[in-house]
């Protein structure tokens, strides 16, 4: 790859995050972490509305 090619915006390559099984496995681990944190007393209720507002503004 030369300098001119590097200046051109890059395209996507298949990555681990594109594997459906790996994504599903991660979601399961994140759910487990969520359950553990909630069991330890964590509560996202105060922050979630603000995050939802942020997410509403994120471009698709």
């Amino acid at each position: 790859m030369n300098a001119m090619e590097a200046a051109i915006p890059i395209q996507a390559k298949q990555q681990p995050a594109d594997d459906a099984k790996l994504r599903d496995a991660q979601r399961a681990r994140l759910r487990q972490l969520h359950e553990e944190l909630v069991a330890e007393g964590a509560d996202g209720a105060a922050s979630l509305p603000q995050l939802q507002a942020h997410a509403d503004a994120w471009p698709e």
Binding site: M1, E5, A6, A7, P9, I10, Q11, A12, K13, Q15, P16, A17, D18, D19, L22, R23, A25, Q26, R27, R29, L30, R31, Q32, L33, H34, E36, L37, V38, E40, G41, A42, D43, G44, A45, A46, S47, L48, L51, Q52, H54, A55, A57, W58, P59, E60
Partner: protein
């Protein structure tokens, strides 16, 4: 309920630190991810260098978050050769517009976000958005968001 669409989240080191500093905030992010997005939570490989000191105990929230994400195992955001090269270009352009240094890691994260933005929308979670926003603007990609935790 809002329909779920694909959006991947890239955490920079300050984003990891912010989520690891507040169990409540981390729980809120996990709930947002679960409720609204078909998304992966990703720590770019270069960020692992910044957040790993070797001094943390095995039970810190950073370690639990890394373990749940799987950043050192089966799901991670690799720095491709193309993204590494692109990061250099973005950093050089950003330096010409900035009065201070632009970190190599920030440029790499944004190049990786640019790469992923051809597959799905991307949100970069960072505690230090100024340089990230500058770099994202240089990509001209319209589906990359920058979010500051809290």
């Amino acid at each position: 309920m809002t329909r779920r669409h694909r959006r991947d989240f890239l955490l920079d080191s300050s984003g990891v630190s912010a989520l690891a500093a507040s169990r409540d905030l981390l729980v809120a992010y996990l709930e947002l991810l679960e409720q609204r997005f078909d998304g992966a939570l990703l720590i770019p490989v270069p960020v692992l260098t910044e957040i790993r000191s070797g001094h943390r105990g095995p039970d810190t929230l950073v370690d639990r978050l890394i373990k749940a994400i799987g950043a050192e195992d089966d799901i991670y955001a690799p720095l491709t050769v193309e993204a590494a090269m692109r990061a250099g270009v973005l950093r050089t352009e950003a330096l010409s517009l900035s009065r201070h240094d632009i970190s190599t890691t920030d440029a790499q994260i944004v190049a990786m976000a640019e790469e992923r933005s051809h597959v799905c929308a991307v949100t970069i979670i960072t505690g230090d958005p100024d340089d990230i926003n500058l770099l994202v603007g240089l990509t001209r990609r319209t589906n990359i968001a920058v979010d500051v935790p809290g």
